[in-house]
């Protein structure tokens, strides 16, 4: 009898003894749930990192980098462009398999994906791709893209970012609406499970073309409460956690055992847009007074030296075309007061502002408010919830708009969305030009189609100088992103930048 029992026990235990322990990476995100994981629809902060685990582009941002100058081959092995910069040929890597049984990735999938990215019915980034005249498969491993006009960064459009992510044509067509929740790509991980309001689980793609990932499984947990997320990280239930962009948080977690805190780019640039059509800001001297009254160093200092730096231009630092030496108005209260008096407001001015209640944005604005008060400029804040704020500032209701944003890292995008007259709020083509700025249209347009890289940078420089000089907006500070990991997690690269707003988990990422 005893012998049988032993045998039974041995049988039961056998699978446990032989199975290798799974390497599971637990990632904690500050969100209640996922937004969308269809790469052509993923726009929220919590969506972007996971898209980078599942998909590839023709080229990719070097893991750990957020710079367009550090793109490297991904699904394409090599590429060439015509002299006029309008025709691009990409040679694809052979033998790349899609997740599951969706077969090999070929030129047909690339053509399908880029067209899908350009269709507003299936993509949130359609406008970016409208510049593509034609996309065709020359043969199964060659793709030809013809542009209507040369653009500043075509490689950016076919990188593993937003619409550049390549999806499986067969899967997208077969799965229909379900593709949005179970998208199929070629990346190191594939989504295997979704628990609403709780987690997304990814499994390693054993057929990944760069090699089998060292991590077997990623559990991406949605933990909206800051305190709970921090506690879960401290107790060791999370390996990687989305950090708070807050000096005290960085200091506290830097001291925790077995913890590495990383502060990374791209920075989110906070700008105060001044409505140049509303009194009293329609007077340039009043706008200049605002610019002189702002003390950037103080704002950055208040937000925290580890995570914030003073702004350097009206485009974030590190973008292709940012003027790192732009001449901003220095802090000078006396000059601000003199300008107000000259404009006919010796007793100061009042500006009505619609402001979001989002704490990080609200407290920055309160610093600005107190700085401007010293010069006699009274910002009257009407504080509303974040969605209301977004809706109302787009109706051109605010005298000044505090806006924080990171964009695709090329000056063209930032300038075009915030300072080109076509993007002015209240028009059909409106994006986020809250100031009604129109002084640099010519340079922005010319730079976009300038084939010579040096001349292009010069044009962007002039555009920034004009926007700054006319005070369409006052740049304030740049906020870096914060992530923390346990020391036993090795990303497999140096984590300095996160174009995907989070760490990329690659085949080399490991947990010991």
């Amino acid at each position: 009898m005893k012998r049988y029992l032993f045998a039974a026990a041995a049988l039961l235990l056998a699978p446990i003894a032989t199975a290798r322990a799974e390497t599971v990476l637990n990632v904690g995100m500050a969100a209640a749930d996922i937004g969308q994981i269809d790469p052509h629809r993923a726009t929220s902060t919590q969506d972007k990192p996971v898209v980078s685990w599942m998909f590839n582009g023709l080229v990719r941002f070097k893991p750990g980098s957020a710079s367009l100058e550090a793109l490297e081959p991904d699904l394409a092995e090599s590429w060439e462009k015509s002299a006029d910069g309008k025709t691009w040929i990409f040679h694809l890597r052979k033998g790349v398999k899609f997740h599951g049984d969706w077969g090999e990735m070929t030129a047909e999938d690339v053509v399908y994906s880029l067209k899908r990215a350009g269709d507003s019915k299936t993509s949130s980034f359609a406008a970016d791709y409208s510049v593509m005249e034609s996309i065709e498969a020359v043969d199964p491993y060659t793709v030809k893209i013809v542009l209507k006009k040369p653009i500043p960064a075509l490689l950016g459009l076919v990188a593993n970012y937003h619409g550049g992510n390549i999806v499986s044509k067969k899967a997208a067509e077969a799965l229909g609406a379900d593709f949005r929740t179970k998208p199929v790509g070629t990346g190191p991980f594939q989504v295997v499970d979704y628990k609403s309001n709780e987690s997304l689980t990814f499994a390693a793609n054993p057929a990944y073309f760069r090699g089998v990932p060292k991590i077997d499984k990623i559990v991406y947990r949605f933990i909206p409460a800051d305190a709970s997320r921090d506690l879960a990280f401290s107790s060791g239930e999370l390996d990687i956690v989305y950090g708070r962009q807050d000096q005290r948080w960085v200091e506290r977690f830097s001291k925790e055992p077995n913890t590495v805190v990383e502060v990374v780019k791209p920075a989110e640039l906070s700008i105060l847009h001044l409505n140049t059509t509303m009194k009293p800001l329609d007077d340039k001297r009043v706008r200049q007074a605002v610019a002189y009254a702002v003390d950037r160093a103080q704002i950055a200092g208040f937000k925290g030296a580890s995570t914030a730096v003073p702004a350097i231009s009206v485009v974030p630092s590190g973008y292709l075309g940012t003027d790192e030496q732009a001449k901003l108005y220095p802090h000078d209260i006396a000059k601000a007061k003199a300008l107000l008096a000259e404009a006919g407001y010796p007793n100061g001015v009042t500006i009505k502002v619609i402001q979001t209640s989002l704490p990080t944005m609200l407290n920055s604005m309160q610093i600005v408010q107190s700085q401007l008060k010293k010069a006699g400029i009274d910002l009257q804040l009407e504080v509303v919830d974040h969605q209301t704020f977004h809706a109302r500032i787009r109706k051109d209701e605010s005298g000044a708009v505090y806006y924080a944003a990171a964009r695709f890292p090329v000056a063209d995008v930032y300038l075009r969305q915030f300072f080109h007259s076509a993007a002015t709020v209240g028009t059909p083509t409106a994006v986020t030009n809250f100031s009604h700025c129109a002084v640099a249209d010519k340079e922005i347009d010319a730079a976009a189609i300038e084939p010579d890289a040096a001349k292009q940078k010069d044009l962007w420089k002039v555009a920034q100088a004009k926007v700054i000089d006319d005070v369409c907006a006052v740049p304030l500070y740049e906020q870096l992103q914060v992530w923390a990991r346990k020391t036993n997690v090795d990303y497999g690269y140096e984590f300095q930048g996160a174009i995907h707003l989070g760490p990329v988990v690659t085949e080399l990422t490991n947990k010991k």
Binding site: A126, E198, R221, S228, R392, R394, T427, V431
Partner: protein
């Protein structure tokens, strides 16, 4: 009883209709634009307009309203504006967790609150009474997110009895129960407070009645007097409070669900509100309203069980 339930359900129809209409109007009065969530903040106004058209948000408000009612009448709650997932799926996937949490906290409330209330009434102005009064005051006034964090710090981080991020959504029943303990206590504290108060005041009144005095003078034991003679009279107010506060409990479940990171209706409501996901919000409200109506019917039925004077037929 069957006829009673049917009658109550019929009466519930106007209530539900009023809730639907209020919800429909309210979320459209609040400014905000779901297209910002769906398209991100880089899309042009033209693209937003096209999307509004597609989502039916560009239609006149009245026709949106009738479309909505028509859909609900057909049992179709539509798809989420933000994620395009069917709302019924979204809601059904989290509903069991909310029901589980609510029932568990009701249990906590009854198991702790009733004895505490009885004890407090018996020892009026004594130590037990003071303790019960302070405890119930704290229970009502302590915000759920503070008590939740405290519970987590003590039982999860220090003692490590429970995980911080509980996996409620699991097939393993032990794991699921473990995930339920702290949230149920946290939400239950509120219920304990209400139940203690009602029990205490009800018992005070009952213990002063003539029949209790008679029972005592007969020489009956303390336990018999309290539990057999006095306590049954307090059951009706307790059931009333429990039924009434079921709605409050669902509201408070939001905070508990967020702190303990449990899936649930409350958390879904917050997400939907933040995203101005009109259709999801509407669906959630319909279901919550229906749940509260159902809870009230159950409460009424329970009266019949605890009080023979109440007839439900």
């Amino acid at each position: 009883m069957f006829r009673f339930v049917i009658k109550r359900l019929l009466v519930a129809i106007p209530t539900l209709w009023a809730v639907l209409t209020t919800v429909f109007v309210l979320i459209r009065v609040v400014p905000g634009d779901p297209t910002i969530i769906i398209l991100g903040d880089q899309a042009s106004e033209a693209a937003r307009e096209a999307l509004r058209e597609k989502l039916g948000l560009a239609k006149p408000i009245l026709s949106q309203y009738f479309d909505f009612l028509w859909q609900v009448l057909h049992g179709d709650l539509g798809r989420s504006l933000a994620t395009n997932r069917p709302i019924v799926d979204d809601v059904l996937s989290v509903l069991p967790f909310t029901i589980e949490l609510t029932l568990a906290s009701l249990l906590v409330g009854a198991v702790i609150g009733i004895p505490l209330g009885v004890l407090a009434a018996e020892r009026r102005d004594g130590f037990a009474d003071w303790f019960a009064r302070i405890f119930s005051l704290a229970g009502v006034s302590f915000p759920a997110f503070v008590s939740g964090i405290l519970l987590l710090m003590v039982f999860s981080v220090e003692l490590r009895w429970f995980p911080v991020i509980s996996t409620a959504n699991t097939a393993d029943p032990i794991e699921r129960l473990r995930a339920l303990v702290l949230p149920a206590i946290n939400l239950g504290l509120l219920m304990v407070a209400y139940v203690t108060r009602v029990t205490r005041s009800g018992m005070l009144k009952a213990l002063g009645e003539d029949y209790v005095r008679t029972a005592r003078s007969k020489g009956l034991g303390r336990r018999l007097v309290v539990w057999r003679h006095a306590f049954p009279n307090v059951l009706v107010p307790i059931v009333t409070v429990v039924g009434l506060y079921l709605g409050v409990l669902i509201g408070n479940a939001v905070l508990t669900e967020i702190v303990f990171n449990r899936p649930g209706i409350g958390k879904l409501i917050v997400t939907a509100l933040n995203q101005r996901d009109y259709t999801l919000l509407q669906g959630l409200m319909v279901i919550t309203a229906f749940a509260i109506v159902l809870a009230n019917i159950l409460t009424d039925l329970t009266y019949g069980l605890v009080d023979p004077r109440v007839k439900t037929s």
